[in-house]
Amino acid sequence: MTVPAAYHLGLSAVLFSLGMVGVLVRRSALVVFMSIELMLNAVNLTLVTFSRVHAAVDGQVLVFFILVVAATEVVIGLAIIVDIFRSRDTVDVDDVDLLRG
């Protein structure tokens, strides 16, 4: 017996929430980034699930593109983090508070 779609979607929801908590709680920029990747993967799972539910391959195509963009984003994001590290010697996001009002 196959698992109903709701379980896949539930897993996705929980993973997304975990990722969100990680963004809110962790202070290392790298871990925050990884939490964001977690959230992206949760979304991918949702898309694949619905692609199967509606028997249309469009969802998987969208996942393909998300993968591409996620890769690019990671590259550039890590480059930025390394840059910040070079100038401030820290990747703690609580140390970067120049926008303080």
């Binding site: 969100m20 963004v23 925050v32 996001v93 609580d94 970067v96 508070d97 926008l99 303080r100 009002g101």
Partner: protein, 633 residues
Amino acid sequence: MSYAVAIPLLPLLGWVAIGLAGGRWGRRATAVIACGTVVAAFGVALLLLRDVLALPPAGRSVGIGLYEWFGAGQIRIPLRLLIDPLSVGMALVVSGVGALIHIYSVGYMAEDEGFARYFAYLNLFMAAMLWLVLAGNLVVMFIGWEGVGLCSYLLIAFWFTRPAAARAGVKAFIVTRLGDVGFLLGIFLAFAVFGTTDFTVMTRTAASRLAEGGATATLLALLLFAGATGKSAQLPLYVWLPDAMEGPTPVSALIHAATMVTAGVYMIVRMHAVYLRAPLAMEVVAVVGAVTAIFAAASALVEPDLKRVLAYSTISQLGYMFVAVGVGAWSAGIFHLTSHAFFKALLFLAAGAVMHALAGETDMRRLGGLARPLPRTAAAFAIGALALAGIPPLAGFFSKDLVLSDAFHRGHTWVWAIGLIASGLTGVYIARAFILTFVVPPAAPWRVPPHDPPRVMGMPMGVLAALTILGGALGWSFVHPGVLDRFLQPVAAAGSATPFARALETLNAHPGVREGVLLEVSVAVAVVGIALAWLVYARRVLRVKMPAVHEVLAHQFYVEDLYAIAVVGPTRALARLAAGFDRRVIDGGVTAVARGIGSAGAGLRRLETGYLRDYAAYVVVGVLLILAYWALR
């Protein structure tokens, strides 16, 4: 006859030209332009006189419409001029005396830095006064009324760096403002009654629209008189005129003797049809005039400043003019206005010559013995003084006596008596002024030897002296109606068709009294006054010691102090209250709003922590709220 608009227009252009470029063009050009415009206006007025005389007497009233100014509903206010013997006569007097004083000013103000500014203001004044005199309805007249008030303020406070002058200018403006309120209310009432303020219409329909002796007529007459009280310095709004002597002497001569202060008298004569419907108001006018006459004459008795003596004298003589119009003697009032313009301007110009020779000294306690070094000035002052006192055959005698005899014959015996006593006092104070200035030796010798004024100042004085001597011919009317009377007859006749008016004309309350008796009494009183002054001040034979009376007179019956307590004090307190309210409540309210926004901003700023995690949390909270909204919908 529409060229008449050039009469006020020429000085107005003079004001514009001198005001904009007078400083750059130099004194000669400024003087030529300033005097030229007024002389030209006088020339145009002469042309106008010729054209008016060419018309038949009944038709000597021409309206000139210039421009439909504005209107609302039924009411239309056009810019109209009225050309009739009265306005032409006034225009001649105003522009003629004005021209002479402009020429005099060229000499008097030659050393002054503000030469161009002075002539700009003076030309503007001429424009406004001529506009007032030629006006065809009350609103147009009011434009000129306000204009002369403004120029009076500008010229009184001409040397504005002197605090006394600045205060005097403000005082003049504010006090006349009080009168102007009444004037404005009168204009509104006139609109309500007549639907228009056109003089011709009002004169024609006054009898039909206003009940004789009714409340409306009386109220209208009194409101307009309130304006006249302010402008013409009658009780109780006269207090600005003595202080107005802070201005240059030619200004005092022109504005505060010959022209602006006569606007009130002129206005009443213009509105005589309305006044004839309100006998009570006329009575009030006459009484106020008489009381003012004697009050001011008494105040002049102990005044040490020469110009202020002349100022009180002006107030007193204006009182006579109001007596004249109050008893319905319109042409007598205008006649006294004209002759007063001549001799009072002459007196002021002579006083100016004295000041010019002695670097601005006006306190008679420091003057004296000037008859020898300033013979021509002394002669001019003497002529003016005799005219003022009412000694024949000078113009002042004829006009003042005409006023008094008209009052007597029309039954206002008390008014006549008060006027007579005031005449005596007039003789005393002006003789005193002459003696103290020119006869008795000075307290200390002169530092700079004084001399007669230059020709540019002396010529106008000579012309005015001649006019004073010959001016009596205008009004000699004891047996026949005089020249002026006949000239003004069409004006006086219009609107005088009511029984009351006719009765006024023909009334003789004391038929038994011979005309000559009144004459002799007047002259005798004047001579007694002069002789009294001679004995007290020149010969020092009589010593009058009445310290209490002297105190009261020296403080002008404490009227100024009364004003300070009753009007100025409460007004200042109210102003302080209003200022405090403005500062604390209104400004405080606005500041409080600003401060509130500032503190709100400061409060909100605490959300801008600069931390990524906090901003992420805000996003999550927002998303949750949106989800909740969708879920609950």
